[in-house]
């Protein structure tokens, strides 16, 4: 009898505790930040944080993106946490990072300790961890204030996702991957995006305005910070060091100067690393591609061996550059850490000099076919 009386009382207590409604979210009273940009502030020693936010307009009849207005707000602050606090204080709506698409680093902060600047994004559980992180060739504030009809934050994320078709070995940096990379203190690369000089249908499909997005290169970081920048072509080529690419272009030039353009349909990259004096590494690439275009219609395309040789030469140049910039370009630091964890932990501080002296054996095998085949 007592049990029968106790249970309804307990249920009533539970209802009272759970019906506080303190965690209820009204989407019409919420600002969703979809892009965050960081620049160095010109006025003081702090930073400029740009929040590119979507606010529901409250128009019930509108469909999809039409009932959302995008605008950017730039605030000066010493850290992202204080910038977010100021944003919350200045807005009558609640701020949410659950739909964040990207975090963009302005060119002025690339050489600084930017992970410390964006610690809020890396630590708060509400922030979407799949958001892409990239660098810009200009200011983030300018990037997010470009007048567009669409959403430039998700257009940037989609541009990067279209660039890299690999599955689980993507070269695109996300907030989640950045947190893990910083914890293991290995090098990494960030793509550099910018506004395209000429509009193109291939870039930024969501952006219906005048500007479109374009890959401008890649920034290479080692454990100490920014170590160098790759050009657009080098960044495209460096993608081949990751496994499972299903897009991208290879350019080949024959002895007469005719240029041939191949589209990658599938690429496989296998690396191995053997510690020793000196250390030895091998990289084996198998690339399937299709001939798309040639500069001279009468020129005969190179056979697979010549194409492999040409690509081999380009990749060797990139490997030579990586000895200066760091092993993040070739992915060999990750390979060494995974294959020889105990050894890597011991030599972590000397890794850069060890990598410079590592003998790398590169093997490239291209199999091409013509589009008309």
């Amino acid at each position: 009898m007592i049990k029968k009386a106790v249970i309804p009382v307990i249920i009533l207590i539970l209802l009272a505790l759970l019906s506080g409604g303190t965690d209820a979210v009204d989407v019409n009273r919420t600002v969703f930040v979809v892009g965050v940009g960081i620049d160095r502030s010109e006025k003081d020693s702090g930073y400029q944080y740009t929040f590119y936010a979507a606010s529901p307009t409250g128009a019930d009849s509108a469909v999809g993106d039409n009932n959302v207005a995008y605008r950017s707000v730039t605030l000066s602050a010493r850290s992202l946490s204080s910038a977010v606090r100021r944003l919350e204080q200045g807005s009558s709506r609640s701020i949410s990072f659950e739909h964040l698409s990207c975090a963009a680093l302005g060119a002025s902060v690339l050489g600084e300790d930017f992970p410390a600047m964006m610690d809020y994004l890396l630590q708060v559980p509400d922030v979407r961890r799949q958001s892409v992180v990239f660098a810009l060739n200009g200011d983030a504030a300018d990037f997010f204030s470009v007048p567009l009809e669409g959403n430039i934050a998700s257009a940037a994320a989609e541009t990067l996702e279209r660039l890299d078709g690999s599955d689980s070995h993507s070269s695109i940096m996300t907030l989640g991957r950045l947190a893990g990379t910083l914890e293991s203190r290995t090098g990494y690369c960030l793509y550099i995006l910018g506004l395209a000089d000429t509009p193109s249908e291939l870039s930024g499909s969501d952006v219906s305005g005048v500007y479109c997005l374009d890959l401008k290169g890649a920034a290479v970081f080692d454990s100490r910070g920014l170590s160098g920048k790759l050009s657009r072509d080098q960044a495209e080529l460096a993608r081949l060091f990751t496994h499972g690419q299903i897009s991208g272009l290879i350019t080949s030039v024959d002895s007469d100067g005719s240029r041939f353009f191949y589209e990658i349909t599938y690429s496989r990259c296998r690396s191995s690393f053997v510690p020793g004096e000196p250390c030895r590494a091998s990289i084996e690439m198998n690339i399937e591609c299709i001939l798309l275009e040639r500069s001279d219609i009468t020129a005969e395309p190179p056979d697979d061996r010549a194409l492999s040789g040409h690509l081999h030469g380009q990749l060797e140049q990139l490997i030579a550059l990586s000895r200066e910039y760091g092993a993040a370009v070739t992915g060999l630091e990750t390979e060494a850490r995974r294959s020889h964890r105990l050894w890597y932990n011991e030599i972590k501080d000397k890794w850069d000099s060890i990598y410079r002296g590592t003998a790398i054996d590169l093997r490239v095998n291209c199999v091409s076919e013509r589009a008309d085949d």
Partner: protein
């Protein structure tokens, strides 16, 4: 009077699995490394051996409950003193689950609700689960054991398909200096099987059911293995050691091709985890009350269970607000280690030997 219906083998198995919660203990304070991963698997293996010994002793003594077995092995007052130890240990273990799960809820589900209210709801729900007794709890645990693999299966399959398999090679390369810091979190993760002693009583159990108890830690080890592979394959070893709730973070980041399939999976996953945690708190509280009932020669379990719940609430507040988490985790982990690895096998051995002596030639 209605006779007691014994627990089925599957119910007993479910109780043990839920007490372990598939190695899903989330209140650790870092130190997750390859050594942690190997230690948990090893500890689950040791639990299997420990339970096999206990089961063997149980059969030899003709299905006596733990109290009779203890009384045979030790003197009656000594048996009572012995039971104070698990009684307090289970209260501590339940309070660690309570504080860990309260933090998870506050971080991922109810950011603005006070942790005090969340804790209270946990305890009141656990009290409700306790009211109908062990048979109802075992029924709920069995239902949970049947349902959870479906939810986990989705995450594990999609996680393993999108995992970065290269990162998994790190798991079998533990550094020697990682074993000591990983021991406490590993002991807490692999705890739960010690409750089996209290389920193995003559009136609760059918003769054949002890075999299923033995495989319960092995099942937990298999599920723990899958979840660790998904976690490390998704967020890397760096992510595993930097996140407070690595599996929840991993389930939000699984790369499935469509990108966002599992992105908001934390909500159903945490809800399932909370249900399991409530049952786990109820099981630990019940075991604690059973132990203390024998110590104090009490006739009823209910008041003792209520007192244990209040003590758990107070301890969870100390863990959350007085910074005693690390100290209490260490005490609890070492207590569980002594209890599972030393006292249970010793009790089993003594009981078996005493029984052999008493058997007529």
């Amino acid at each position: 009077m209605k006779p007691h219906r014994p627990l089925s083998g599957f119910q007993l198995f479910s109780l043990c699995v839920t007490a372990s919660m598939f190695g899903l203990f989330t209140g650790h304070s870092g130190a997750l490394s390859p050594a942690y991963f190997l230690l948990v698997i090893l500890l689950f293996g040791l639990q299997c051996a420990s339970l096999a010994l206990l089961s063997c002793a149980y059969k030899r003594t003709g299905g006596e409950d733990y109290n009779s077995m203890l009384s045979r092995a030790l003197s009656r007052p000594a048996a009572r003193v012995f039971l104070v130890f698990p009684g307090l240990l289970f209260i501590l273990r339940a309070s660690l689950t309570l504080s860990g799960q309260t933090e998870a809820v506050s971080l991922y589900l109810l950011e603005d609700t006070s942790e005090f209210a969340v804790s209270l709801v946990f305890l009141v729900t656990a009290f409700c689960a306790l009211l109908p007794g062990i048979r109802r709890i075992s029924g709920t645990a069995a239902l949970f054991t049947l349902l959870l693999p479906v939810a986990l299966g989705v995450v594990v399959v999609s996680g393993l398909l999108g995992a970065d398999w290269g990162e998994l090679r790190l798991l079998y390369q533990p550094a020697p200096d990682e074993f000591v810091p990983a021991l406490i979190p590993a002991l807490l993760t692999a705890s739960g099987a010690e409750c089996a002693l209290f389920f193995l009583s003559a009136k609760n159990t059918k003769d054949h059911s002890s075999r299923r108890l033995i495989i319960a830690p092995a099942v937990c080890a298999a599920i723990f293995l899958c979840m660790q592979l998904v976690t490390v394959g998704t967020i890397g070893l760096g992510g595993l050691s930097s996140e407070a709730y690595p599996f929840i973070e991993a389930s939000r980041q699984i790369s499935t091709g469509t990108g966002s399939l599992t992105e908001r999976l934390d909500f159903p996953f945490i809800t399932v985890m909370l249900t399991a945690s409530i049952i786990q708190i109820a099981i630990y509280t019940l075991c604690s009350a059973l132990a203390l009932k024998t110590v104090f020669c009490a006739r009823r379990t209910g008041p003792l269970a209520g007192t244990a719940l209040a003590a758990e609430f107070a301890l969870s507040l100390l863990i959350r607000y007085a910074g005693l988490g690390d100290a209490l985790q260490t005490v609890c982990a070492l207590g569980i280690a002594v209890y599972t690895a030393v006292l249970i096998p010793l009790l089993a051995l003594l009981a078996a030997l005493r029984h052999r002596k008493e058997r007529p030639a």
